[in-house]
Amino acid sequence: MAIIPLERKPLSLAERTYLPAILSGLKTTFARLLRPIETLEYPEQRPAIPPGYRGVPTLVKDPNGREKCVSCQLCEFVCPPKAIRITPGEISADAPTAQVEKAPQAFEIDMLRCIYCGLCQEVCPEEAIFLQNQYSMSGYTRAEMVNHKDRLYELGGTLPDPHLKWDKKKAAAEHGNTH
Amino acid sequence: MIHAGLNAYVLLSALLFAIGFFGVLLRKNTLVIFMCLELMLVASTLALVAFSRFNGTLDGNVFVFFILTIAAAEVAVGLAIIVALFRSRRTVQVDELNALKH
């Protein structure tokens, strides 16, 4: 690849005074002045969140109201800033989700550490953790900034789940056809 | 709107001159000495203006122009010397500037 040296064009006299540039700059700024305001008045006006926005990580339940998380701790493992802390818990046999081995007893995401990278969502085999459109996290104390399980579920809500994997499993088990 | 007499002005300027002169003798800090020297010049201009006003000739007032200019030039040069000296000797005290004695 040949290097092609480009001659810098010498400035003309007018350019060297910088006056034309300044004048055109003034024109630009003045034109800006006359244009309508483009900012949102935030609390009242909210930004439209585009699809695929990666907001605060949340936990979701399936349409049947079941926790999707199975406490596999993959997300905890993969989380670069170690923001996720999961305490796996047993599922009592009488629970409707008893066919699942485990569920998180506690699930904490420290939002002071979270970097919104989305790896947890990426890695979750159960599609239980999602970065959703929540963009504003605030609190008065450090403790407030740690999202506990309840808050996570509250933020996450329920997402439509086309698979309903565990329900199908349960049905199959009940059907006697485990595999 | 002249209310004070010529003698008052002249005596005042002589007093200022004396104070400045005294400062030159007394102080050790070259910068302050220099200021006192300027004070002496200002005292002279005061007398000059007063005389000019009472004598009814403009020469004195015009002379003040020159004195002011000279003072400015003098200060510029003087401070340049003081700064250059400070760079090499780290002091502006007169009694520490005695390398030339021997």
């Binding site: - | 220099f34 010049l41 002279s44 007398a47 004598n55 000739t57 000296l85 090499s88 030339l100």
Partner: protein, 503 residues
């Protein structure tokens, strides 16, 4: 003020009358311009331009191209052109030329910008020339300050040497102090002379002629006498006369050698000419002037001689010996109050002093090392063996300063003595004899170092001294001319003598 009278005033500004000064100023500006437009390679030629310019001016001045303005006023009485003024123009041009030549030697040893030095030198010279012709306090003060401020810069020019800066600072403080004192004196005189309640008051109180007339009408005015004393004190600083001489040794030592020479000769010369003018103006106050000046002269003589006695540094020695020369000149000024021939004597003395001093300073510049302030008498050991030429020039110069016949300095002293004797200043003469004897001691000890010591200590090792600069053609020529002039002027006064005669 109506326009017509203004036009008259403006028309009286006869620029042709100060052609030498104007040309000098233009030359100074031309140097700066040339430095900008010439390539850096040619910058080393600029001092030569300056020197040639001054030389040309000197030649023109000697040809007398402003002689037509002699004995008349110009610039509405700001300046008065006299034949003395013409002669002193030559004096200052000569001084500038010689300082320039010495500077080429001294500046070559320092890594400093050159052109500015010459520019300031030329401007100061022009201001001196105007100073001695001024007949008006405003003009006098302005020119004096231009000289002084220029000298502040020149004195501290070798700023990489801390001693130089210290000298500059001391000169600055003392100079500014004396300027202030002088100014206050001027103000008082102006105020008194313009006071409408006093007899003989004048509307142009700054003009020396008017002032003289006023003083003649009021011979015992308190404020005027205070003013006179203050003005004299201010001038005493410039000429390094007694209580205002304390700056001399330090400043002379610290200043670059050419500047020391300039201070010693041109500045002192200018001071004395101003003093002469002022003494003439204040002559109605002779009751005050004579005792003050006499005391000053005696003390200056003694202090200068005694002070120089203990010096080992040649620059300090030159400074203090210069103080004693100031004493001799002051003696002439005192005598000039009654004897008009004293004025001629002072002029002659100044010329003799110029030639001799520059011969000595030229040798000093060649002998000095890169540290300009460090010039001990011991550095001259063996000079006669290494460079007989320099030793001879030095001997002639010092001999003339000491007042040894047949050199010019002797004739200068002779004239001053005659004038002093005519004026009846016997006490001063006695002091002067003591001064001469003492001065012969210290000048001789310098000559002795140059001629009689071998430059090696007793165990055969060479004493430490800086390497001497080889004598260039120009320097050699100039030094020879100076030595020759010193001898010639001692034996044959010629034109200068005739000029003195007709004073």
């Amino acid at each position: 003020m109506d326009i017509a009278s203004l036009q008259t005033l403006a028309a009286n500004n006869d620029w042709l009358a100060i052609m030498p000064e104007l040309l000098l100023g233009c030359l100074a500006l031309a140097l700066l311009v040339l430095e900008i437009i010439l390539p850096a390679k040619l910058h080393s030629r600029l001092p030569a331009v300056a020197l040639l310019g001054v030389l040309a001016l000197l030649v023109f001045q000697l040809l007398g191209f402003t002689a037509g303005f002699a004995e008349q006023e110009s610039f509405n009485g700001l300046l008065v052109h006299s034949r003395e003024g013409q002669v002193m123009r030559v004096f200052f041009l000569l001084a500038a030329l010689l300082v320039g030549v010495i500077s080429t030697i001294s500046l070559a040893k320092q890594k400093l910008p050159h052109t500015e030095f010459y520019h300031i030198l030329l401007v100061v010279t022009a201001a001196m020339m105007l100073l001695v012709q001024s007949n008006h306090f405003v003009m006098l003060f302005v020119a004096l300050e231009t000289v002084t401020i220029g000298l502040y810069i020149l004195v501290s020019y070798f700023r990489s040497r801390p001693l130089t800066l210290e000298a500059g600072l001391k000169y600055l403080i003392m100079g500014a102090l004396s300027s202030s004192i002088l100014l206050f004196g001027i103000v008082l005189l102006y105020g008194v002379a313009g006071n409408p309640e006093l007899p003989g008051h004048t509307a142009s109180a700054m003009n020396l002629d008017s002032l003289h007339a006023f003083l003649a009408a009021n011979r015992h005015n308190f404020l005027a006498s205070i003013g006179i004393v203050l003005v004299l004190s201010g001038v005493a600083f410039k000429i390094a006369a007694f209580p205002f001489q304390i700056w001399v040794p330090d400043v002379y030592q610290g200043a670059p050698t050419p500047v020391t020479a300039f201070l010693a000769v041109a500045s002192k010369g200018a001071g004395f000419l101003v003093l002469l003018v002022l003494a003439r103006t204040f002559s109605p106050y002779a009751w005050l002037l004579a005792p003050v000046l006499t005391l000053m002269a005696g003390a200056t003589l003694l202090f200068g001689s005694l002070g120089a006695l203990t010096q080992h540094n040649v620059k300090r020695l030159m400074g203090l010996s210069g103080v004693s020369h100031a004493g001799f000149l002051l003696m002439g000024v005192v005598a000039a109050g009654t004897q008009s021939m004293a004025i001629g004597a002072i002029y002659f003395y100044l010329f003799a002093y110029l030639l001799a001093s520059f011969a000595v300073f030229g040798v000093m510049a060649l002998v000095a090392g890169p540290d300009d302030a460090d010039q001990e008498i011991s550095h001259y050991a063996g000079l006669a063996k290494d460079s007989p030429f320099l030793a001879l020039v030095l001997a002639i110069g010092l001999g003339s300063l000491a007042g040894i016949p047949p050199l010019a300095g002797f004739m200068g002293k002779l004239f001053i003595f005659i004038a002093a004797f005519k004026a009846g200043l016997y006490g001063l003469l006695a002091v002067a004899i003591v001064g001469v004897v003492i001065s012969s001691y210290y000048y001789f000890s310098w000559i002795r170092a140059a001629f009689f010591s071998s430059g090696t200590s007793s165990d055969g090792e060479a004493t430490a001294r800086p390497a001497r600069t080889p004598v260039s053609f120009t320097a050699g020529l100039v030094l020879s001319l100076l030595a020759f002039g010193t001898v010639l002027l001692g034996l044959y006064q010629g034109v200068l003598g005739q000029w003195l005669n007709t004073r």
